[in-house]
């Protein structure tokens, strides 16, 4: 066969990654969302003021912030940590959702599939009920984080002991079992301590009203490491789309890969949940939007989920704090309000999204 015909055709033989327009568009979406998040609120701050103020904080750049002392304080002590946290959590939930959907060959998988949500819910409830921790306390995220990881560890052990650890289905069923069991305990504890109902409920609905730089510092390392791990595995996730058996005959150690991806996605999700409560739908809406608009290849879905998820949750949080201002809507209400109808559309159009 002719060498130059192979050279010519090699150009078309490539996997669709994230094309340049989509890269620019998603970056612009995130940047726009961040500016809106920083600028909107009772104290209005213009986009240019934000940029100049940001530059004035950089070393070796001689720009004077045009903002008043009040605006500076609002921007950097209140809004910036809140926007950063929403971005970290949104990016993490979306990328973890995309990975779970690939690992479990299930378009409806979300990052809470293996029991993180129920586990951290129980951890938080126990902390509030017995530890007398309030919503802004330091111990609450820790209790939620430990609860979430413990629940997933239980799920994994149960799935393995079912003797069919190789099959993704066993793990999903184990996740359902653990979720139901822990939710039952959580409800019981909650009923026993009805004075805690309000705090627990507020936590479960999720939100960023207590966000500060401290929470950002807690979540950032986990989100950083686990999303990096997931982005690096984007091609391998495509290999998994031909099923466990064929992926295995292509030299992939499927059980080990699944464990690794579950650990990465779970650690990041648990960290996100611990600082923000349970925020539904982000992990499903965002990856599916990308599948519908850009490409079904995980080379596109995984990295774009991170960027778009971050922007999405920042915008959702802006709605949550402005719609009934000065009161706040729980952010879970906002994401579910937009998520549920979207989800219905996905269900109608989903062919077999793997």
């Amino acid at each position: 066969m002719a060498v130059d015909s192979v050279r010519r055709t090699e150009a078309i033989v490539r996997a669709r990654g994230v094309s340049r327009p989509w890269r620019l568009l998603s970056a612009a979406f995130l940047a726009g969302a961040l500016l809106v998040g920083l600028g909107v609120g009772p104290v209005g701050i213009g986009a240019w003021g934000i940029v100049e103020s940001a530059l004035s904080h950089l070393p070796f750049v001689h720009v004077h912030s045009p903002l008043s002392a009040l605006q500076e304080a609002v921007l950097w002590q209140i809004r910036a940590p809140r926007v950063m946290l929403a971005a970290l959590v949104g990016g993490m939930l979306a990328i973890a959702g995309s990975a779970y959907q690939g690992v479990f060959h299930n378009p409806l998988a979300d990052p809470y599939l293996l029991g993180v949500a129920a586990g951290s819910g129980l951890g938080a409830t126990l902390a509030i009920a017995y530890g007398h921790v309030d919503r802004s306390g330091q111990l609450l995220p820790l209790a939620a984080f430990v609860g979430g990881l413990t629940a997933v560890a239980f799920t994994y052990v149960l799935g393995r002991s079912a003797g069919v650890a190789r099959a993704a289905g066993a793990l999903v069923l184990a996740g359902v079992t653990v979720t139901l069991f822990l939710s039952a305990i959580q409800t019981f504890v909650q009923q026993q301590h009805s004075n805690t109902l309000r705090d627990v409920y507020a936590w479960l609905l999720g939100g960023f009203s207590t966000a500060g730089w401290k929470q950002v510092a807690v979540a950032a390392p986990y989100v950083g490491v686990s999303s990096l791990a997931l982005v690096l595995h984007r091609r391998v996730l495509d290999v998994l789309s031909v099923g466990d058996e064929e992926a295995s005959s292509l030299g992939v150690n499927v059980p080990r890969l699944r464990l690794l991806l579950v650990i990465a996605a779970t650690a990041g999700t648990a960290a996100a949940v611990s600082v923000s409560g349970l925020i539904a739908f982000v992990g499903i809406i965002v990856p599916h939007t990308i599948r519908l608009l850009v490409s079904t290849s995980y080379r596109a879905v995984v990295p774009l989920s991170l960027v778009v998820g971050a922007g999405f949750l920042v915008l959702a949080d802006v709605l949550a704090r402005t719609v009934i201002s000065p009161a706040e809507l729980p952010i879970g209400v906002v994401t579910a309000f937009f998520g549920a109808p979207f989800f219905a559309i996905v269900l109608r159009t989903a062919r077999s999204v793997r």
Binding site: V6, E10, I12, V13, S241, E246, L250, S295
Partner: protein, 253 residues
């Protein structure tokens, strides 16, 4: 190229394959035939590392049990009976998946990998389809895409589990001719086959399995006898042979 000695596979206490010993030379095409449940697929799956087995299996001198998953995948490519073909993947993307055993764990394809995939596509006349989604292909085109992925693996042995299921007669012949021509590039082929007439026409050697053991082995004339087919398949057939080969015709007793 392939040496099996006393290969045995057990499922939950029952022996699916027992005492299978075979030697298969380079560029040979051996077809495993036998009734449903005879253990044909299990032999293939054991050989490519998908099933644990007892006994010995050597590929090109290497002990299969000592080879890592990736090393094994570089030596042997497996095409299952019903491959999973995600409809949204393009043909090019699907064929590139065949490069997985040659790539570092977290690496993406380099130019050499894209060229290998392009060669596989060219070999199977799939270049015009490179950017089409798998979901838009016909059965015959799809089977060629699956073969192209296996070729892109650049393995020395090709295992095909019922490569002609769900193809019409013409496509069956095309696929089999194609596989036959691939052997000229140094490929050794082991396949299972339901259609005994086609098996007799394309295989260098037939191996008849029954309840996990080899019961007959050799050319079509030796293996495809009415007596063998009655004994092991419980089938009533007439064997017709002329200058063009041997035909297995079902009869109604």
């Amino acid at each position: 190229m392939i040496e099996l000695r006393n290969l045995a596979v057990r499922f939950d206490g029952t022996e699916a394959v027992r005492g299978v010993s075979l030697e298969i030379g380079t560029e040979e095409w051996v077809m495993l035939i036998g009734p449903n449940g005879a253990g044909k697929t299990s032999v293939l799956r054991a050989l490519c590392g998908l099933l644990p087995f007892a006994g010995e299996a050597r590929l090109d001198g290497h002990d299969v049990k000592e080879l890592g998953r990736r090393e094994l995948a570089r030596l042997i490519a497996f095409v299952p009976q019903n491959p999973v073909t995600p409809p949204e993947l393009t043909v090019a993307e699907y064929v590139l998946l065949g490069r997985t055993p040659h790539l570092g764990y977290l690496a993406t394809e380099a130019q050499g990998d894209r060229q290998a995939a392009a060669r596989a596509l060219e070999r199977l006349d799939l270049l015009p389809f490179a950017e089409r989604g798998l979901g838009s292909l016909s059965g015959g085109e799809l089977q060629r895409a699956v073969l192209a992925r296996a070729l892109a693996q650049e393995a020395r042995v090709l295992l095909l589990d019922e490569p002609t299921t769900s193809l019409d007669l013409g496509r069956q012949q095309q696929v089999l001719e194609l596989v036959d021509s691939l052997r000229a590039d140094g490929l050794t082929v082991v396949s299972t086959m339901h259609d005994l007439t086609l098996a007799g026409q394309y295989a260098d050697r037939l191996v008849l399995l029954d309840r996990g053991a080899i019961v007959a082995e050799g050319g079509p004339n030796e293996v495809l006898s009415a007596a063998n087919l009655a004994t092991y398949y419980g089938a009533s057939v007439r064997i017709v042979s002329d200058g063009d080969g041997l035909f297995v015709l079902p009869t109604r007793a």
